[in-house]
């Protein structure tokens, strides 16, 4: 694939957080204001630079745009191959959008080791953007693992009481998964080498071409190695127990990013690698994965219901909500996949906002126990408005964003010829009832009733910085709810082409447009086809 003309824009978006990270390292740690200012400016700039990507992205072209390749390790044919399609575009924008908000939410609560904190945040942004735009398995892996470092410290240093346990648990869980992924990446490279005239490569585009020729039994092992890593990240039940601990211990900004962006790396990976590389294996595992999603949806909701800590409740709700995303992926229908992609964005917005709201309460009271609150609406009426909007978005109220994603994933799963069983959707739909149960019950106990606890009598309503965090979220929550086409049109072609290819491979026919048929191409020649780098 040749370099696209405006590839520099994408590269700059990726590198800005790195520049920022280096810049912050050079600022004296006593200059806390300067550190905050620099970080904020860098993250806003990154958002600013990502906007032209949005506007110059051509939704009618299949394949990756803003593509560029900077060779890195020649012996493994690894390079900074980066580029975005409709799916990664949405996630890149989500990342650059949420980052300034998360930073803003840190200004008040983060008092110790300010310099390290903001440096870590920028490193985190670098890692997340890298994951979403890498088109090289090795580089993807590096970014994937890079994220562990800042996240480990964010939880471990600025976290709550049991932060060390949570940080280690987060680290180990993720590491176990990703080691298997590394093995799979190496195996894929070796396979490319073993083909006639081939050589070791980590070029995703080449691997995607040759992957279907891998013997089926081995494809399954590779599929599972990738899937485990991603399912832990999502997290899919039963790999989820790191999440509640990580969320409860993480500082607010950490939770916002964790829920808002990090978990999407798992679902993104499932689509990018599992579906794109091994559609046949995905076909075989669609049903068990769908069952795990359904279990997660119901299980996460029921466990969320009995929590007494608001943050833990929201954390378990993530397990439930991400189940819808994975169900949509497993459905392998355009409706389900489109629903899954928009639901990734939705969950980032609405759960991110829920964590901001929980953070606002924690800031004021330094507790998250539901029983400590009650009648808060009386003293914080404006906060109540935002809190209720976040909750309604989360419960999937039509007119707000959550409905679009949930409805399409349920719908996709219902129609799916791969799952071929309406019970996935029927059982998952109970999640719609349960989410109303646990979220509204929590809201009612925290916000309604009389304000009896003396510690809550003089809580201050939202301040200006909190408006700046919450209002942008609300704008997009409503926007996606009423006019989702703005966003979904970006990924429409990508999804249709992908499903078209998958259906062609499995059923022999498809009703979706095929821009170019996927054929097994020799890596040597295909490298030249995609050459130009």
């Amino acid at each position: 694939m040749p370099h696209t003309e405006s590839a520099g824009m994408l590269l700059l978006t990726l590198l800005l957080p790195l520049f920022g990270f280096i810049a912050v390292l050079f600022i004296d740690k006593a200059q806390e204001k300067a550190i905050r200012f620099t970080t904020m400016m860098i993250s806003l700039l990154t958002f600013g630079f990502s906007l032209p990507l949005w506007f110059s992205f051509n939704s009618s072209i299949d394949g990756f745009q803003f593509y560029t390749n900077i060779p890195w390790i020649s012996s493994t044919d690894s390079g900074f191959r980066i580029g975005i399609d409709g799916m990664s575009l949405l996630l890149v924008l989500l990342t650059t959008f949420i980052m300034p908000i998360a930073l803003l939410s840190s200004f008040e609560p983060i008092k110790k080791r300010v310099k390290e904190y903001y440096a870590m945040m920028l490193l985190l942004e670098l890692g997340m953007l890298g994951v979403f735009i890498s088109l090289d398995t090795m580089v993807f892996y590096v970014f994937w693992e890079l994220i562990l470092i800042p996240m480990y410290f964010l939880i471990g240093i600025w976290g709550g009481k049991d932060r060390i346990y949570a940080a280690v648990k987060f680290f180990l869980y993720t590491l176990v998964g990703s080691l298997l992924m590394l093995l799979a990446i190496v195996w894929l490279g070796l396979y490319a080498k073993g083909l006639p005239g081939g050589h070791f490569t980590t070029d995703f585009l080449v691997l995607r071409e040759i992957a279907p020729s891998i013997p089926m039994d081995i494809q399954i092992w590779l599929f599972l190695a990738f899937a485990l890593s991603f399912c832990i990240k999502v997290p899919l039940m039963p790999f989820h127990t790191w999440l509640p601990d990580a969320h409860v211990q993480a500082p607010t900004a950490g939770s916002v990013i964790l829920a808002g962006v990090l978990l999407k790396m798992g679902t993104y990976g499932l689509i990018r690698f599992n579906v794109e590389l091994f559609p046949m294996a995905m076909h075989q595992f669609a049903v068990p994965i769908a069952w795990l999603s359904v279990a997660g949806i119901i299980y996460g909701a029921l466990v969320a219901m009995v929590q007494t800590d608001i943050k833990k409740l929201v954390a378990y709700s993530s397990v439930s909500h991400l189940g819808f995303v994975v169900l949509g992926i497993a459905s392998m229908t355009p409706e389900g996949l489109q629903g899954a992609i928009i639901q990734m964005v939705n969950h980032g917005l609405s759960t991110g906002m829920l964590f901001l709201c929980v953070g606002a309460l924690y800031e004021r009271r330094h507790t998250r126990e539901i029983s400590e609150f009650g009648g808060i609406t009386k003293v914080m009426p404006k906060f109540a408005v935002f809190f209720v909007i976040a909750i309604l978005a989360s419960v999937g109220l039509p007119g707000l964003n959550g409905f679009i994603g949930e409805f399409l994933t349920l719908f996709g799963a219902f129609q799916s010829p791969f799952l071929n069983n309406p019970w996935f959707s029927i059982l998952s739909s109970t999640g719609v009832i349960f989410s109303a149960v646990y979220l509204l019950w929590m809201f009612q106990r925290v916000m309604f009733g009389t304000n009896d606890n003396p510690s809550n009598h003089s809580l201050k309503d939202l301040h200006r910085s909190e408006y700046w965090q919450l209002v942008p979220m609300v704008i997009f929550i409503v926007w996606i709810g009423i006019y989702p086409s703005t966003f979904m049109s970006k990924s429409e072609l990508y999804v249709q082409t992908l499903i078209g290819k998958v259906e062609k491979k499995i059923f022999g026919t498809t009703k979706y447009p095929l821009i170019k048929a996927a054929t097994s191409v020799e890596p040597g020649t295909s490298n030249e086809v995609h050459g130009g780098h």
């Binding site: 280690v168 648990k169 180990l172 039963p238 989820h240 127990t241 790191w242 299980y299 029921l302 466990v303 219901m305 009995v306 929590q307 229908t333 355009p334 409706e335 489109q338 629903g339 009648g375 609406t377 009386k378 309604l392 109220l397 039509p398 007119g399 409905f403 409805f407 399409l408 349920l410 719908f411 996709g412 219902f414 129609q415 309406p422 959707s425 029927i426 739909s429 109970t430 719609v432 009832i433 109303a436 149960v437 509204l440 019950w441 009612q444 916000m447 309604f448 009733g449 009389t450 304000n451 009423i482 006019y483 086409s485 979904m488 429409e492 999804v495 249709q496 499903i499 009703k511 979706y512």
Partner: protein, 654 residues
């Protein structure tokens, strides 16, 4: 005007946005109330214009107005527009919603006067009207679903409007509990609608009403599938319209301010279930099973709610059970295929039940927030206008000729007999008897007899004109509204049933399907129809007289009767213990399993046990392996020896 139909929902939306954003800053009750009322009133005028345009068209042309605004959801082959469908059914509902809505907005200016959250109330009310209009004007299921859940949200917000007040109910302490209960119970119904939409799209490839019902009319659809679809939709209706098994939320919804009870929980939102079935009459007509279940659920709900209403002492709760009961009547009508009669009753019920609720609000207002009719009595002389209008509404709901309730109730009963069975008719008449009885009990206990309130603290007074004017308008509608549906039996055979003519094209397909199912329908004589009519009228009058004998003058008779039938009284007083049964069978066990098994065992012990266990195992083995690295050369030599022996042994024996 039809092309401008989007203005109808848009105006209340604008009202909501203005009041929502600036209501507090305006700090002017009159202005806020005016904006909200004008928004809904303006919507009424636009709807009226569209209605007048429709009246000038042929009946075929009336069904063909679809106004598309923009694409809402587009994914793969799935496509849904924001589009409105203007026809005889939707415009009728629109007129009822905006018309009664305007009156209730005006009434609320007086009722909510002085409330610290005055603007918030009107913002919610406008939002409600917006959602309700989307529900009825939508040309597809998904947009209706937006309205459907949206009205649920507004209901939630308005039931919990006084969030810091207590409210008594089973497992309910705060108004917020009641609000949450309403939302969640409704969501159980919405779950059915969601699945039904999936099934409909799978079979029909569309979620637009016209496409789906046209395809259904042409036949060839698996009966089991149709039954599944319609039953799932009906589950949604039982939630929204408070029928068995999901009717338990409505009486608790009375925690909201009274105008809310009038608008949402009597006149409009709760009739959404009837609307959904009427909108899809063709689909429903195709399944005899579903129709039979709807009939059964309707009449059972009507009877159960009516009997509970007899013993309640909270003025609003009596009206709430009455609403549940009347809705049951409407479902019974739908079940026997009397779609027009059901919609007719929706309309007349909207008139007199809104009137009765607003009247009760006027009483509560004048009695300083007292709702217990045991502590009222003799209010007739203090609030004459409220009394007279309330009396008119009570006569109307009791179904006395020639008030509006008589015509719609009688049409339902007649259809229950003609298309159903004499038993169904009998059950309906029994429910009607209870209705007449408890409504006049309510009237007498409130306005007649000795004054049982504390004269030192309570000084009953008539309400201001913003409240009494809507009462009078609704009273006039309650008295004369029935003239829109005069049956042939009473017009001497002349065809003057305006409503039936108006709605005929909407239900034409459904009616012809039903007619083909019931080939052996016999023709009943006019004399029989008159006889049944006279009988039901006589029974209603007996109900009234019985109530008068017990309650018109204060006496100890009712208390003695309650004491004599203690068991029965307890069952009725506790609403057949449905709330308790649900709590103990579903809610409590689910909570316990989630807490004690799913979380504490599966999550904490099993999954985390494995995770922490494997981490500990690694730590322990590392700890032990570390000991091997002792730094003592002899140990290393010894180990080497063992190793060599082992290798030799392996080479020799293997």
């Amino acid at each position: 005007m039809v092309e401008l139909i989007y203005l109808v929902p848009l105006l209340p939306l604008i009202g909501f946005l203005i009041i929502g954003f600036f209501g507090k800053k305006l700090n002017n009750e009159k202005l806020v109330g005016a904006i909200a009322s004008i928004a809904v009133g303006g919507a009424f005028l636009v709807a009226l214009g569209a209605f007048l345009q429709l009246t000038g068209e042929s009946s075929e042309a009336r069904t063909e107005h679809i106004v598309r605004l923009f694409t809402w959801i587009q994914a793969g082959s799935f496509h849904i527009d924001i589009a409105y469908q203007v026809d005889q059914l939707s415009i009728l509902y629109t007129l009822i919603i905006t018309g009664i809505g305007t009156l209730i907005h005006i009434y609320s200016i007086g009722y909510m006067h002085g409330d610290k959250s005055f603007p918030r109330f009107f913002a919610y009310l406008n939002l409600f009207v917006f959602m309700m209009l989307n529900l009825v004007l939508a040309n597809n299921f998904v947009l209706t679903f937006l309205g459907w859940e949206g009205v649920g949200l507004c209901s939630y917000l308005l039931i919990g409007f006084w969030y810091d007040r207590k409210f008594e109910g089973s497992h309910i302490v705060w108004t917020g509990d009641a609000a949450k209960k309403a939302f969640i119970v409704n969501r159980i119904g919405d779950f059915g609608v969601l699945i039904a939409m999936c099934l409909i799209y799978m079979r029909f490839g569309s979620l637009e009403y016209t496409t789906v019902n046209m395809a259904a009319a042409s036949g060839g659809i698996d009966a089991g599938l149709i039954t599944a679809i319609t039953l799932l939709l009906f589950l949604g209706c039982t939630g929204k319209s408070a029928q068995i098994p999901l009717g338990i939320w409505l009486p608790d919804a009375m925690a909201g301010p009274t105008p809310v009870s009038a608008l949402i929980h009597a006149a409009t939102m709760v009739t959404a279930g009837i609307f959904l079935i009427a909108r899809n009459s063709t689909l429903f007509a195709l399944s005899d099973t579903t129709m039979a279940i709807i009939t059964g659920v309707g009449i059972t709900t009507a009877l159960i709610a009516a009997t509970i209403g007899i013993v309640q002492n909270d003025i609003k709760k009596v009206l709430a059970y009455s609403t549940v009961s009347q809705l049951g009547f409407m479902f019974m009508a739908l079940g026997v295929g009397a779609y027009t009669a059901a919609v007719f009753h929706v309309m007349t019920h909207a008139f007199f039940k809104a009137l009765l609720f607003l009247g009760s609000g006027s009483v509560i207002h004048g009695m300083h927030e007292e709702q217990d009719i045991q502590k009222m009595g003799g209010l007739k002389k203090y609030m004459p206008q409220t009394y007279i209008t309330f009396l008119l509404g009570t006569i109307a709901i009791s179904g006395i000729f020639p008030f509006s309730g008589f015509f719609s109730k009688d049409e339902i009963l007649w259809n229950a007999y003609a298309n159903g069975s004499p038993i169904l008719w009998g059950a309906g008449v029994l429910a009607a008897f209870c209705t007449a009885f408890y409504m006049f009990r309510l009237l007498y206990l409130t306005f007649y007899g000795e004054e049982r309130f504390d004269h030192h603290h309570v000084h009953p007074h008539e309400s201001p004109v913003t409240m009494t004017l809507p009462l009078w308008i609704l009273a006039i509608l309650s008295v004369f509204g029935g003239l829109l549906g005069i049956p042939k039996a009473l017009s001497g055979g002349a065809d003057i049933n305006i409503l039936e003519h108006w709605l005929e094209p909407i239900f034409a397909n459904a009616n012809s399907i039903l007619a083909s199912h019931h080939t052996n329908a016999h023709h009943h004589s006019l004399a029989l129809e008159w006889g049944l009519m006279a009988a039901s009228l006589a029974i209603a009058i007996i109900g009234i007289l019985y109530a008068a004998s017990l309650y018109k003058k204060s006496s100890s008779k009712p208390a003695e009767m309650a004491a004599k039938n203690k068991g029965l009284y307890n069952i009725l007083w506790n609403k057949y213990f449905v709330d308790e049964i649900y709590h103990n069978v579903f809610v409590a066990p689910m909570y316990k399993i989630s807490l004690d098994f799913l979380w504490k065992i599966v999550d904490v012990q099993i999954i985390d046990g494995i995770v922490n266990g494997s981490a500990r195992a690694i730590a322990v083995s590392a700890e032990n392996l570390r000991k091997i690295q002792s730094g003592i050369a002899q140990n290393y030599a010894l180990m080497m020896l063992f190793g060599i022996v082992a290798i030799i042994a392996w080479m020799v024996f293997a």
